[in-house]
């Protein structure tokens, strides 16, 4: 898979989105705070724009109104003609695409950072497209700047026409997930961690804009492989739950034969794969309706090439 082009010029148009899911409170409250006091998002070479992505869902403290906004930035939805009875998030995705995009165009924002929470014990996790070399450098920088608690990187492999998330509207982007935090709850520890992560993201962009060098490196990442549903009865209802030995063990290796579910009748269900798997988003509240008990990933090391070094004051070409 070929890499996304790396930026050859300073990033000027940067957005930080929160409330993409209206009940993930860290981003909701940070964005509201920045809308009142935008100074925290200012750097010498640019000012990031705070965006409350799903205001209607945020107002009622729900993930979404009609459908998951963070699955709606596909070309099908973005180019569809507005109809009176379309779902709220389809309209909203088009608005955001107008504001921050258009997706896949030269007018699109340079970078979108999208802020999320999970009920799973994911700690600090960055989710991005492995081909986005600029964002991979950003993760590397964040890991060095914020080593406690450790952060992990989840990469997805997607081409431009299969991406669907808010941050895919910009030329470069990344999702930050902090957990565990229940939906509708704001925890002070996660709130301050997210605030300092966002500050580091903006610092990195500023450093890049100022011509700092970011050499090649190798990095351990988790690569998304697929999803695992709960055990279910014939009528589709849950027949069991995440096994107590798997609960809260996100990113810890699961071997074939390890217990992964416990049925209400008391029996255990074992993992039937044929190799070590790393589970993610274990028991995330929002994924029950998506038929996902957890995601499976593999751990691997990736090599990321150096970023181009920008000239602070580029001399015009003759």
């Amino acid at each position: 898979m070929c890499s996304l082009p790396v930026p050859q010029e300073p990033l000027r148009r940067v957005a930080v989105t929160g409330g993409t899911h209206g009940n993930e409170m860290s981003g909701v409250y940070l964005v509201r705070q920045w809308l009142r006091t935008p100074v925290d998002l200012q750097r010498p070479s640019f000012s990031a724009v705070p965006v409350l992505a799903n205001p209607a869902a945020t107002a009622v403290c729900r993930r979404y109104i009609g459908r998951d906004l963070n699955r709606t930035f596909t070309s099908t939805f973005l180019t569809s003609k507005a109809t009176p009875d379309e779902l709220y998030e389809v309209t909203r995705a088009r608005e955001l695409n107008h504001l921050l995009g258009p997706k896949n165009s030269s007018q699109a924002f340079d970078f979108i950072l999208d802020l999320h929470n999970t009920t799973a014990n994911m700690g600090t996790c960055f989710i991005l497209n492995v081909t986005d070399t600029f964002a991979m450098h950003l993760c590397h920088y964040l890991q060095l700047q914020n080593s406690e608690p450790p952060s992990r990187v989840l990469v997805i492999e997607a081409s431009e026409d299969t991406t669907f998330s808010v941050d895919s509207v910009a030329k470069h982007g990344m999702t930050v997930e902090l957990g565990p935090q229940p939906q509708g709850v704001l925890r002070a520890d996660l709130f301050s961690r997210m605030r300092s992560l966002v500050a580091s993201v903006l610092d990195f962009i500023e450093l890049f804009n100022q011509g700092a060098a970011f050499p090649a490196f190798e990095m351990e990442v988790y690569k998304f492989l697929g999803c695992m549903d709960f055990p279910r009865s014939e009528d589709g209802d849950l027949a069991g739950m995440v096994h107590p030995q798997l609960q809260d063990q996100d990113f810890e290796p699961v071997q074939p034969g390890a217990p992964i579910f416990q049925l209400f009748s008391g029996e255990d269900m074992l993992y039937e794969g044929d190799s070590t798997m790393y589970p993610l988003f274990i028991n995330e509240a929002a994924y029950y309706e998506k038929n996902i008990a957890f995601m499976k990933s593999k751990k691997l090391t990736v090599s990321i090439p150096a970023l181009p070094v920008l000239t602070p004051n580029p001399t015009p070409l003759t």
Binding site: Y29, P180, P182, Q183, G184, L186, L238, M241, N283
Partner: protein, 307 residues
């Protein structure tokens, strides 16, 4: 001497996104062997099926606040909120409230996002039978801790779903996010119900329970988040208070931290015990936590009148 217990109900899904009770009750509706006891009628029941289906706390209003005589006496009409109509149905099936025909005991199963552990909720501090039951459950669960929360208060007591029974029992286990089912929490709630049913079984069998005392926490006051001029939350639970339910909180201890980092301490001049710290469902009820006071409850000896 008290009459033996005959009819028991176990309610789940009074709040549709508190999943432990929802799935325990659904499981017992399919296979109720573990909740059956000789001579007892034990009925598992989903109280708010529409909210369960949508995995929301409620559809129109909080079902666990509408079992007052005014709402239960309203003329049935399609214009009433769904939960008021449902409350009347439940009152018809398991009540009527304050009548001879009502169920003897209702256990209502709840979860909280707060770090409350196993909690038994008591509505009346003079109820010898329930204090004896709670003493039995606490003793049987040990070393697992189980606290008793007393909601007897002239203005803060609320009209619970379970209040239609002669002996209402609230069971609250946390922390568990809304819409999530945790195996460890489910196991704890299952044990609480098992011990409660065992107690009733022993009581009906004629076992005598000598006088006992339990420690309890009685609600004193609800505390809202500090808010700005638009009514929005301006300060959140301080990290030192987060997850510290039931732990003594002294005057001067940090309670809130404003969004720009200033600490707000506890005022007043006496130690309180915080409960329901940072419960998701209480943001809209303007409750960041509740202050409780610690006290001892006494129960007289009880024995079933059959023996």
């Amino acid at each position: 001497m008290e009459k033996p217990i005959k009819k028991i109900a176990i309610f789940g899904g009074t709040h549709g996104n508190e999943l432990t009770g929802v799935f325990l009750v659904k499981h017992w509706l399919r296979d109720g062997a573990e909740i059956q006891r000789t001579g007892l009628e034990v009925k598992p029941f989903i109280t708010n099926p529409r909210a369960v289906e949508k995995c929301m706390r409620y559809i129109d209003c909080d079902l666990n606040r509408v079992f007052d005589l005014e709402n239960l006496g309203k003329k049935m009409s399609e214009d009433l909120p769904y939960e008021v109509r449902r409350a009347q149905e439940i009152n018809h099936l398991f009540g009527p409230k304050d009548s001879k025909g009502s169920y003897d005991i209702i256990f209502d199963l709840h979860n909280t996002t707060s770090n409350m552990g196993c909690t038994l909720i008591l509505e009346d501090s003079k109820n010898d039978f329930l204090i004896q039951m709670f003493h039995y459950i606490k003793t049987s669960l040990a070393p697992l801790s189980c606290n008793v929360y007393l909601i007897e208060h002239p203005s803060l007591k609320y009209a619970t779903t379970r209040s239609i029974a002669k002996y209402p029992v609230g069971i609250e286990v946390g922390p568990q996010p809304q819409g999530v089912l945790r195996a460890d929490i489910l196991d704890q709630m299952r044990k609480m119900i098992k011990h409660a049913l065992d107690f009733i079984h022993h009581f009906n069998d004629g076992k005598e329970f000598p006088p006992c005392t339990i420690e309890a926490y009685k609600i004193m006051e609800k505390v809202d988040f500090p808010r700005n001029e638009n009514g929005e939350v301006a300060a959140i639970i301080h990290p030192n208070l987060q997850d510290q339910d039931w732990k003594p909180l002294h005057p001067g201890d940090p309670v809130f931290v404003t969004l720009d980092g200033k600490t707000i301490p506890l005022g007043g001049d006496h130690t309180v015990y915080p409960v329901f710290v940072n419960e998701a469902a209480y943001y809209e009820k303007k409750e960041a936590f509740a202050k409780a006071t610690k006290l001892t409850l006494n129960a007289k000896r009880i024995r079933s009148s059959f023996h």
